[in-house]
Symmetry: C2
Subunit: 331 residues, 2 copies
């Protein structure tokens, strides 16, 4: 049974999270003001902070395990795209109201599951109460062998464009999750999705899987990379802009999940929205021609880097797809 007693002190929260710092001697069991971290010689540290907030990145009443997982996953995803291995993280929690013990227990479980899956350890952090939505600010630390971080700004003309996994699932998951929370199932019915397929989409939204499995291949073979978190077209546009190049994508080469194929068949006009949906947490990488053969099956070639500027997305027949909105804007 869930413990609905309210947490009454920061010390209680620290005690519940302290087991997550086991294995990191520099976390001092979360009893100190700062964390100490001793990087391995010969490695660069890669740092990222990307806070998530209720009402923006998740719903306040989402399962606490999923909220915790997502808060860590979205940060680890950035590391993976840089070719880095996550080693530790700091966690700053801001609660509008004191959470219950049951909520905190579930949150700690979710965080524990995520850090075990991603291979990193809680180093320290901060907890307070402040008005506004629940906010979870993770700062993640990763490492790469010295000088090997994969940059965003290094795509070169002639490189092939690869993307991992399947795109758009999380965007559809958000729509299905929202209607399920409101007790509706119009979209699910319109698309003719089974319970399993609906669950698949919602899980992609709630529990994104950062591609740490691909970090090494990206580090060894990609000229440039970043994670796809704000929509493929928007993120590729950013990469091209930073690199001073252009790109063309053949939308016919993009890999879709079996469930997504059903959605697109039922509602083909969703196609451009799917391509510009956020929360994918896949890796977008440019790969020099001589390295393309080294790409694993999880990485799909979808286009080419060109001279010039801008990103063009074509249909199978070569005609161009226009976008009203290329992706998620945080601002």
């Amino acid at each position: 049974m869930t413990d609905t007693t309210a947490i009454t002190s920061e010390a209680e929260i620290i005690a519940m999270l302290a087991p997550l710092s086991a294995g990191a001697s520099g976390a001092f069991g979360l009893t100190d003001d700062c964390a100490q971290f001793s990087p391995r010689p010969g490695y660069d540290l890669i740092l990222k902070t990307d806070p998530v907030r209720a009402g923006v990145h998740f719903f306040a009443d989402d399962p606490p395990e999923a909220i915790a997982w997502k808060a860590l996953a979205v940060n680890v995803s950035d590391l993976a795209a840089k070719g880095a291995r996550p080693v530790g993280y700091l966690l700053a929690l801001s609660f509008p109201d004191a959470p219950t013990k049951g909520w905190m227990t579930a949150f700690a479980h979710g965080l524990g599951a995520a850090q075990t899956a991603f291979g990193c350890v809680l180093l320290g952090g901060d907890t307070d109460r402040a008005p506004g939505p629940l906010s979870i600010a993770v700062t993640v630390i990763g490492e790469v062998p010295e000088g090997t971080m994969v940059r965003r700004a290094a795509a070169r003309v002639g490189d092939a464009i690869f993307v991992s996994g399947t795109l758009g699932d999380s965007g559809i998951g958000l729509r299905l999750h929202r209607e399920a929370r409101e007790g509706r199932q119009e979209l699910r019915t319109r698309w003719g999705l089974t319970e399993y397929q609906t669950g698949y989409f919602i899980d992609r939204y709630l529990r994104p899987q950062p591609r740490i499995d691909l970090a090494e291949v990206v580090r060894r073979h990609a000229s440039a990379a970043m994670d796809v978190s704000d929509g493929l077209v928007k993120d590729l546009t950013r990469m091209c802009k930073a690199s001073g190049v252009g790109a063309v994508i053949d939308s016919g080469l993009i890999e879709w999940s079996p469930a997504m194929v059903i959605v697109i068949r039922q509602q083909p006009e969703l196609f451009s929205a799917i391509l510009s949906a956020g929360d994918d947490y896949e890796i977008l990488a440019t790969v020099p021609p001589e390295h393309c053969a080294a790409m694993p099956p999880a990485m799909h070639r979808i286009g080419t880097i060109l001279a010039g500027a801008g990103v063009k997305v074509t249909r199978i027949d070569g005609t161009e797809i226009a976008f009203d909105k290329t992706g998620w804007d945080h601002f």
Copy 2:
């Protein structure tokens, strides 16, 4: 004249902050998703994240320069108390509404002034818009020679207790700042403060000065240390608890600012509130007897670590002072 045009994109904010990353090659001019940091061999990294929020740590209409300064200062303060030197920081900004260009320019100036004063550089971060108060999450990175971080949990029986600077000024500054914002001056009149004295207190609240000047002496001579941010008694109690010891403080040995002496004379009953006010950002350190002579004039000996538990504060005549509230609780 202040530019009141609204900022319309994250890119605009990044462009305004990018100059602050000059000198950190691993910040890539804020054009990448992650920052790369290459620590010096023979050094441990010290990490801290302590977000600040409008309505809790500052007022939303405080000068943007002061908000920026404080956001960085409160984090650097923790590093100083660990004996560490700040080297870089990540910055996650969350705006309820788009700031104006004038506001962002002033904020960037304040941040620039702070990082120059503290000796660190902006490495990266994130900006988004979310409901709730303006939130600024700084994660600061410091370094100490390997194995020399000063712990919180290492105070020993017989150690002298030192505290830097003068206490309580910021707490009085908050009261004066609040009444000035509301167009009142009752407290100022009651205490008979000059404009200069009032300004002194408010500045201590708005622009705390982390004691980086004392980091090295603390690292060389303190057995345990932490910054005083939630009130002397509360923070010393935490240190004693973590170290498994008790403490006695002679309140007659605490150093007060000249302006504070005036306030205490006018309203002696404020004494315990002053001792438990937060936002001091001074350093609390325990020092073994043989190291006491090495303490600089900025560090004042105020008490002794004892066997047992709990913190006792005495008057000059040896009687004990009772506290209703020992300090600021975040929760």
